[in-house]
Amino acid sequence: MNEQLKTDPTKPAQRMRAGGMTITLLPWIIAIIAMLLLPKIFTNNSALTIMNQMSITIIFALAYNMLLGQGGMLSFGHAVYAGVGGFFCMHIMNMSDFFAAMPLPILPLFGGLFGMGLALIVGAFSTRSAGTVFAMISLGVGELIAASSVIVVAFFGGEEGISGDRTYAQPFFGVEFLQQEEVYYLTAAWVIISAALMYAWSRTPVGRMANAVRDNPERAEFLGYSARWVRYYSFVASGFFAGVSGGLFAINYEILTEENLNAYSSGIILLVTFLGGVGFFFGPIIGAIVFTLVQTVLSLQTELWAFYAGSLFVATVMFFPGGLAGLIMMHVPAIKLGKWRLLIVPYFKTLLPAAIGILGLCALIEMIFHYRHGATGDNEMTLFWTTFDSHTIMPWIIAGAIAAIGIGIAKMTAPDLKDAWNEANTMGGQS
């Protein structure tokens, strides 16, 4: 059998690296087809807006992972490159003569170039070292530029930000981008191009050396590469794609504010990237999709969405350091051994009760929130299509019981799942 299968299945991090970033083409083709078909399925404008937001986040998160996952640079201020790229695009939109002669689809390119320009300047001093020094400089520069937004009002527009109108651009083969669907396809095209380019980047000599410098900068120096220059190139490339995402933001929302620059946005993209998994190229894509769904769909259901997003993040970091992508790739050895079927029933037995138990827990949290913050006299709340009085004892007992029983069953069946997991990842035996 294949030697690769001998790596320790209990150490996903180790195997994660073993697989490296080699991906077959098929999932990408499926993803592209799905991307092109989605607007035919979800036709309403709010769904298109969510999907556009997803696309923008995908590019930004992939750009961010060029630093974090591939280059080992933890940035706390990467939103400024997207933001500044976006602000420049906004100003181009407002340059009526120039903009009227320019087809809208090339606007993000300008966002990228300006994001890259800023990265060229900042990177010159921030990439001297990785680690804490880099993180602190990124935080400082991020705050500095975010603070400038209320100082340099002419450029950043102060608190109101800068707005414009994308439809003033030169029509692109007759398309004026009045419809949300047209914007969707523009954004989707940029996602595909950007993702392909960023993947290609990771396969070039400088991209490979970014990995080497991440793992062992000293050794890389004794191989003829300056760790600093390798980091600088990654940083500049990442700034470019962050700027592209900023340009797409400008096209989609037609407004940019301080929020596009601040530490909160920088923190979110770190969270998105980590949630998806920094060890795989496609990790940030999954992170962006999941996080955008939580942010948009879940936030319509509950005010506490950020609480759940935070819990999901903490759980991921604690239990699956490889992120959601790592979680998926954990199953590759079992699939290669042809024993993944062994996992279906145990998963069903453990994960279903666990999910129900967690929903019970969420119900308790929602009830506490309603009990504490609901308007006086408004005792009725609706949860999971059930309307009840949160000030009576019965719903509490029911929710508590569901949570306890669900999690209890999951705990009981967990050892079986573990056995099945070990069995599925061991060579030989019945399959």
Partner: protein, 253 residues
């Protein structure tokens, strides 16, 4: 006389008040195999670090093929044809064995910081990497993460990384440290094979390896070279026997 491959003159290094290297003059010729021996704490690794600019010397010069290396960064020195290994295994543990070697090949093959080549498409590069893997007997481990190899294999990989770039001056810092007898023999043969025609400078504790490999030996004691010469001369040197070798040889018998 041709210029020596490596020439040290008046090399000194102090850390605060502690003088670790106290004035070293040494000339190592082309294609010579030179071993540096000495008791623990004599400053052998520090000397290596001075030559490769991991540390800056307090005084003195290092010349590679007659060219002064003062003020150069490690990566610049490497590009001039000097490559080194480390006493503590220093590889890219999360990358595959193959990629470790390929990274070591990139600069010398002129890829530099290019982002217009896809490395997997460079067939010649892959062939070169595989040839080196074959040479260091790690072809069977090609796609494993380097961190999962056994200790001896990691040391072999380290040597592979060191020689891959085609440097003509190779410096090995205790290549057989912590190895069993059979592993030591394996690494010694390997070093013989891969440094053919190149200048080799090695720090080594194992006297069997030293006397088997070296053309000349320098004995470093308390930051000074007390003797340099052919193995048999050094072995016979009274000062050396007193300071170091005597005790070590007695131990062996």
């Amino acid at each position: 006389m041709s210029t020596p491959a490596l020439e040290l003159s008046g090399l000194k290094k102090s850390f605060g008040k502690a003088e670790i290297i106290r004035g070293i003059d040494l000339s190592i010729g082309k294609a010579e195999r030179h071993a540096i021996i000495g008791p623990n704490g004599a400053g052998k690794s520090t000397l290596f670090n001075l030559i490769t600019a991991r540390f800056a010397p307090t005084a003195g010069t290092v010349k590679l093929h007659g060219e002064n290396l003062a003020g150069l960064e490690p990566f610049q020195i490497n590009r001039k044809g000097l490559s080194r290994s480390f006493q503590i295994t220093n590889i890219f543990p999360k990358m595959s064995v193959f990629e470790n070697i390929r990274c070591a090949l990139l600069w010398s093959n002129g890829y530099k910081y290019s982002f217009w080549n896809i490395v997997n498409r460079q067939r010649q590069l892959s062939e070169q990497a595989d040839a080196i893997l074959d040479q260091i007997n790690l072809l069977g481990r090609r796609d494993l993460p380097a961190g999962t190899l056994s200790y001896a294999e990691q040391r072999a990989l380290e040597i592979g990384i060191t020689i891959a770039g085609g440097a003509d001056v190779i410096m090995l810092d205790e290549p057989t440290a912590g190895m069993s007898h059979s592993e030591t023999d394996y690494i010694t043969d390997l070093i013989m094979k891969v440094t053919e025609g190149k200048t080799l400078i090695m720090v080594e504790h194992d006297m069997g390896v030293v006397f088997g490999l070296a053309d000349r030996i320098s004995v470093l004691v308390y930051g000074e070279i007390i003797a340099t010469g052919k193995p048999e001369d050094v072995r016979g040197d009274a000062k050396v026997q007193e300071a170091y070798l005597g005790a070590a040889l007695e131990e062996e018998h």
